[in-house]
C-alpha cells in the first residue's frame, strides 16, 4: 500500500504547484451548481414533507362545493373520531375606503385537528401557537391582508353585512396553499358568524369541508363506510393523497432546476477534460521518470486513481460547502412564494455532490490520466517518443456515458433521457455550426488593421477547435440569461400591449340574479358603462349517454381532470364573437326549446364525446340531461368570459345560478368599488391588474431563480476559457518570447491578446443574441401568438457582456505568459 502515501504526497504537491487548479475549479463549480439546487429543493421538500401530515389539518377531509350532510359528522362522532368544519370562499373585505379580495376561512371549534395555528399580536410580532379559534365577531388576518388594507391588530373590517374586529395576525395555518401564491390573502373567522355576513347564497363559490381525525383504523373504517354513499360532488382526501401530490410537485421542480444546473455540469466537464488533457501531457515525462526510478505500471495507475479519488473528495467537499452557501441565494429569491420558513437541509445533496464530482472525474479526467500510465520509461532518453494516444471513440464514449448516467439518475426516465440527449446534441450541433461559421468569418478581417489585429485574429483561427468550444460555452450560457432577463420581459410587455386600452379590468362573481339590474345601474351611474354579464351555473358532469362517469372511459388525462371538479356552465342565445362553431349547429338567439349543450371542441376531444352524445350534469343536487348539438373553438385571450360548456337559453334560466360581470373602471375611479361592495354584499370583485401584477411577480421570481442557476453556467464558461488558455500557455509563452526577440513591444503583444479575447467574447455575444432572438421569436410567434419585436437592448447587451467577460478574463489569464522574459522562456525550450 505504499502507493497511498505516495499518492497523497503527489496530490498535495500538485495542488501546491497549481497543476490541478483548473481541474479542481471546474469540478467545484459543477458540484456547487448541482448541490445549491439540491440543498434548496431538499429544504423545500423537507418543509413540505414535514407538513404532509398536517397539510390537511386533519387525517381525512370531505370536500364539496355544496353543503355537506351533517349525518357524516354524527356518524364520525359515533366512531369516536374528532370532527371540525370549515367553509372557504373568496370575498371582498372593506376597511374604510380600502377594499381587497380576501380568502375567507370560516372554522368551527376544534379546527385544526392536526398541526397548529400560529398567531401574533401585532403585524410583525413574534408568533406563538394559537389556542382555539377566532371568537364570534373576531377575525384573524394574514399579514398580506393587513398590509393591503393598511391595518394592524385592533382595526375593524367589514365582511358582507357584518363588521369584525381583527384580534390576531394569522401567521400560519397547516392547510394553507403552499408552494404557490395565494391570489388573495386569508382572513379566518368563526363559522357561526358566516350566516350573518349574508354573502353565502346558493350557487356562490364556496368550498365546504368536514374534517376528521382519530385512530388510523377508525379513520379507515369511516372512510370505507361513507365512500359508497358520497355524491359525485363530494370528494374525500386522506393524508396519503395530499402527500402524493406534494411529492409530485416537488419532484417536478427539483428535476427542472437540476436539469438547468446540468448545463453547468456539462460545461464544467468540458473544462475538466481540457485541464486533464494538459495535466496528462505535462506529466508524461514525470511518469517516464517514475518508471525509470523503478515504479511499475500498476503503481503508477494506483497512484493516479488514488489522486483522482482525492480530487473527487476535495471537490465534492468544497463544492458541497459552496453549494450550501449558494442555496441561501435561491431560498432568498424564493422566500416570498414559498411562503414559510424552510427547515435546514438534509445530508442527501452531499451524495449528489459526490456523484457529480465522480461522474466528471471518471468521464472526463480518468481516461486522459490513465493513458499517461502507459508512457514507456524510454521517454526519459527519447523525448520524441509520441505520447500515448487516446482514441476519440474512448474519450467521447466514456464522457457521454458518464453524463448520460448522471442525467438518468436525475430524471429517472430513459425516455426523457433520450429526449434530453437528443436536444443537447441538436443544440450543440447547431451552436457549434454557428460558432464555426463565426470563427471562420473572421478570416476576412485579418488584414484589416495592424499587427495586433492580425496576431489576435490569427490566434483565434489557428486554435479553431478550442475557439469554437469557447464561443459555444459562453454563447449558450449568455443566451439563456438573455432569454430570461430580456426576452421574457419583451414578451410580457408585448402581450400587455395587445390588451385593448379599455378592456374590462374588473371582474365580479357571486352576483345574485336579483342584484344584477341594480349592479348594472350602479356602473351606468358611476362610470357611464353597463357591465357585460353572463349567468353562471355550477355543475358536475355525472353521466355520458346514461352511463355514470365512474364507468365511463375518458379519452385522456385532461378529460379526467374535468371530471374531478365542478364545472362552470352558462347559457346564452347569441354565439359570442370569440367562438366559432366547428361541428353541429348553434341553437340561435331566440331558441326556447328543450335543453341543448354546446362544448368546447378541445374538451369534447379530451372527454371523447361528440355531437349527438347526451351528457348529464348535476346542478345543486339535481340531474339535468341534454344532448350535445354543437362544438366550438374559443379564442381564450379575447378577454371575454368564455365557457367550455354552454346551455341553450330558455329552460336553463330556471336552474340555480348566479351572475358574473366584467367592466372597465378607470384607475382613478377604483374607489367606487368599496361603495359597490357595501351596496351589494356578497359580490366578489377581482381586480385584473392586481392579479396580473401578482402573476408577474411569480414569473419574475421563478425566472430569477433559474437565472441564478445559470450564473453558475456562466462561471463554468469562464473555467472553460481558463482551461483553454492553460492548454495553450506554453505555446503562447514561446510565441510572445519570439515576438519580443523580434522586437515587438510588450504592449503590442498584449493588445493582440486583448483583441483575441474581446473578439472571442463578441462572437459568443453574437451567438447568444442570435439564439435568444430566434428562440424569443419562436416562443412569441408559435407559443404565445404575438408579434415579437427584438428589444433594442438585446444585441448590445449580448455583445458587451460577452466581450467584457471573455475579454477581461482571457487577457488577465494570458498576461503572465506574455510578460515572461524571453530569455527564460527560450532557455526552457
Amino acid at each position: 500500500m505504499k502507493f497511498l502515501g505516495f499518492a497523497f504526497r503527489t496530490f498535495r504537491r500538485d495542488l501546491r504547484a497549481g497543476e490541478l487548479s483548473i481541474l479542481v475549479a471546474a469540478i467545484v463549480v459543477a458540484v456547487t451548481a448541482m448541490t445549491a439546487v439540491g440543498f434548496f429543493t431538499d429544504r423545500v421538500a423537507g418543509a413540505m414533507k414535514a407538513q404532509a401530515s398536517q397539510v390537511l389539518a386533519a387525517d381525512l377531509v370531505l370536500r364539496s362545493a355544496g353543503p355537506l350532510s351533517p349525518g357524516y359528522l354524527v356518524e364520525a362522532r359515533g366512531l369516536g373520531l374528532e370532527i371540525a368544519e370549515t367553509l372557504a370562499f373568496p370575498t371582498v373585505v372593506v376597511a374604510g375606503e380600502q377594499t381587497t379580495l380576501a380568502a375567507i376561512d370560516a372554522v368551527s371549534a376544534g379546527y385544526p385537528l392536526r398541526g397548529e395555528l400560529r398567531v401574533a399580536d401585532t403585524l410583525f410580532g413574534n408568533g406563538r401557537p394559537a389556542t382555539g379559534i377566532p371568537g364570534r365577531g373576531e377575525a384573524w388576518a394574514e399579514p398580506g391582508l393587513l398590509g393591503r388594507l393598511g391595518l394592524d391588530v385592533g382595526a375593524s373590517v367589514t365582511v358582507g353585512e357584518r363588521t369584525l374586529r381583527v384580534t390576531r395576525v394569522l401567521q400560519y395555518k397547516p392547510d394553507q396553499n403552499i408552494g404557490f401564491v395565494n391570489l388573495a390573502p386569508g382572513l379566518m373567522v368563526n363559522l357561526e358568524d358566516v350566516p350573518g355576513f349574508g354573502v353565502v347564497k346558493p350557487g356562490s363559490r364556496v368550498t365546504y369541508n368536514q374534517m376528521f381525525a382519530g385512530e388510523e383504523a377508525r379513520i379507515a373504517e369511516f372512510r370505507r363506510s361513507i365512500t359508497p354513499r358520497l355524491r359525485p360532488d363530494e370528494a374525500l382526501r386522506g393524508r396519503e393523497d395530499a402527500g402524493e401530490q406534494i411529492n409530485a410537485a416537488i419532484d417536478r421542480a427539483q428535476r427542472f432546476l437540476t436539469l438547468a444546473s446540468l448545463v453547468t455540469v456539462i460545461l464544467a466537464a468540458v473544462a475538466t477534460g481540457m485541464a486533464a488533457r494538459r495535466y496528462a501531457l505535462r506529466h508524461l515525462d514525470n511518469v517516464a521518470l517514475l518508471k525509470t526510478l523503478g515504479a511499475t505500471q500498476g503503481f503508477v495507475i494506483a497512484v493516479t486513481v488514488t489522486e483522482l479519488a482525492l480530487v473527487i473528495a476535495m471537490t465534492a467537499a468544497l463544492g458541497v460547502l459552496l453549494g450550501y452557501g449558494a442555496q441561501y441565494g435561491l431560498a432568498f429569491i424564493a422566500a416570498e412564494f414559498v411562503g414559510f420558513v424552510l427547515p435546514p437541509a438534509s445530508g442527501q445533496p452531499f451524495l449528489l455532490g459526490v456523484l457529480t464530482a465522480a461522474t466528471i472525474v471518471m468521464g472526463f479526467a480518468l481516461p486522459h490520466l490513465l493513458s499517461v500510465g502507459t508512457t514507456p520509461p524510454l521517454r526519459v532518453l527519447r523525448r520524441d517518443l509520441p505520447p500515448p494516444q487516446l482514441g476519440a471513440a474512448v474519450t467521447y464514449g466514456v464522457a457521454l456515458a458518464a453524463i448520460g448516467a448522471l442525467v438518468l439518475v436525475i430524471v429517472r426516465d430513459p425516455l426523457l433521457l433520450g429526449l434530453i440527449a437528443g436536444g443537447v446534441v441538436a443544440l450543440a450541433l447547431v451552436a457549434t455550426g454557428l460558432g464555426w461559421l463565426l470563427v471562420r468569418s473572421l478570416a476576412r478581417f485579418r488584414g484589416a488593421a495592424g499587427i495586433a489585429w492580425r496576431y489576435g485574429l490569427a490566434n483565434i483561427a489557428r486554435r479553431g477547435g478550442e475557439s469554437v468550444v469557447q464561443v459555444v460555452a459562453f454563447g449558450l450560457s449568455l443566451m439563456v440569461l438573455l432569454l430570461l432577463g430580456v426576452v421574457r420581459n419583451d414578451i410580457l410587455r408585448t402581450w400587455e400591449q395587445t390588451l385593448p386600452a379599455n378592456a374590462p379590468n374588473q371582474f365580479m362573481i357571486n352576483i345574485e340574479p336579483d342584484q344584477l339590474a341594480g349592479l348594472k345601474q350602479f356602473f351606468q351611474d358611476e362610470v357611464g358603462q353597463e357591465p357585460f354579464s353572463l349567468p353562471l351555473i355550477r355543475g358536475r358532469l355525472t353521466g355520458v349517454n346514461g352511463t355514470p362517469v365512474k364507468d365511463f372511459t375518458v379519452a385522456n388525462a385532461q378529460g379526467a381532470t374535468f371530471l374531478q371538479r365542478e364545472a362552470n356552465l352558462t347559457w346564452m342565445g347569441a354565439l359570442p364573437e370569440s367562438n366559432q362553431v366547428t361541428a353541429g349547429t348553434w341553437w340561435g338567439e331566440d331558441y326556447a326549446g328543450p335543453l341543448q349543450l354546446s362544448l368546447d371542441a378541445e374538451l369534447a376531444t379530451n372527454l371523447g364525446v361528440t355531437v349527438g352524445d347526451t351528457l348529464t350534469f348535476n346542478v345543486a343536487g339535481e340531474d339535468i340531461e341534454a344532448p350535445v348539438t354543437s362544438l366550438r373553438t374559443i379564442e381564450w385571450d379575447s378577454f371575454q368570459p368564455n365557457f367550455f360548456v354552454v346551455l341553450s337559453p330558455g329552460l336553463a334560466a330556471d336552474l340555480p345560478q348566479t351572475y358574473l360581470a366584467s367592466v372597465y373602471v378607470p384607475r382613478d375611479r377604483v374607489e367606487i368599488l368599496s361603495t359597490l361592495v357595501r351596496q351589494f354584499p356578497g359580490v366578489t370583485v377581482l381586480d385584473l391588474e392586481v392579479i396580473l401584477s401578482q402573476v408577474r411577480e411569480v414569473i419574475d421570481k421563478a425566472s430569477m431563480a433559474v437565472q441564478y442557476v445559470f450564473l453558475f453556467t456562466l462561471l463554468a464558461g469562464v473555467v472553460v476559457l481558463l482551461a483553454a488558455i492553460q492548454l495553450t500557455r506554453d505555446e503562447r509563452r514561446f510565441e510572445s518570447a519570439i515576438l519580443h526577440t523580434l522586437g515587438a513591444a510588450r504592449r503590442k503583444i498584449l493588445q493582440g491578446v486583448a483583441i483575441e479575447f474581446l473578439t472571442l467574447g463578441s462572437l459568443a455575444g453574437v451567438l447568444a443574441a442570435v439564439g435568444a432572438t430566434i428562440l424569443g421569436w419562436g416562443l412569441a410567434t408559435y407559443a404565445f401568438k404575438l408579434d415579437y419585436t427584438v428589444s433594442a437592448l438585446l444585441w448590445p447587451l449580448g455583445l458587451v457582456a460577452g466581450a467584457l467577460i471573455v475579454g477581461i478574463a482571457g487577457t488577465l489569464a494570458t498576461r503572465k505568459a506574455v510578460n515572461e522574459p524571453p530569455v527564460a522562456v527560450l532557455r526552457d525550450r
Binding site: K2, G5, F6, R9, R13, D14, R16, A17, E19, D285, N286, L289, L290, K291, T292, L293, G294, A295, T296, Q297, G298, F299, P376, P377, L378, V380, L381, R382, R383
Partner: protein
Amino acid sequence: MLRATGLSKQVSSPEGTLTILDDVSLEIARGESVALVGPSGAGKTTLLAILAGLDQPTRGRVWLCGEELTGLDEDGRALLRARRVGFVFQSFHLVQSLTALENVMLPLELAGEPRAAALARETLANVGLGSRTGHYPKQLSGGEQQRVAIARAFVLRPEVLFADEPTGNLDSATGERIGRLLFDLNAEARTTLVLVTHERSLAARCDRTIRIEAGRVATGEPAAAVAG
C-alpha cells in the same frame, strides 16, 4: 555486474528496417566505471537504454546484478531498477513542481523509505546544496539542477549508475565540476558506472572506454589509452 551478449536493435522506419545495434556483447565488473563513446547516432544511448532495461533489444540477452533483464517484463525491470539502479540525464529530468529536496526524496518514497526527508537532505548537503533544499528547479542554475539530479541518483546507494551525457547541457567549467562530483561520489560508494559522453575529459576518468561505431563495438580499451 552487467553482462550483455549478442545485442541487436532494429527499428522499422519509412526507409525500411534500420539497424541501430548490431551484435554487441560486453561485460562490466562490479565497481568498474565505463564510458560509452562514439559519434552521434552510433547507438550509444540505445545501448545504455537496453542495459538499464528501459528498452528491449530485438535480439540478445542482458544480465544486471545477476538477473536476466531480457527475461523480465516491463514491471519486473522497473522493480529491479527500483533499489539497484540510479540515473543521471543530460536534461536533468527534475520534476518542475517539486523542490530540490522533494526531487531527491522521490526514489526513496517510491522504495517506501521512512526516513526519506532526512536521507535526501543529507545527500543534498553532500553535493553542496544543503542551503537550497526548498528551491524549485526553475530557481536553480543548470549546474545546480544537475547536482540535484546526481543527489537523486545516489541517494539510494545504487549498485549501478547510468549517466547519459551528464555534462552535455553545461558549460565546460560547470561540466568539469559536475564530472568531478560524479566520480568522487562513485569512488566513495563503489558504484558501477556506465556513462555515455562526448567529453573526452569525462571519458578519461573512467576505468575503461567502449567505443561504439555504427552500432558495433569498435574498441574496448582502458580509458587512459584513449585519453593519452
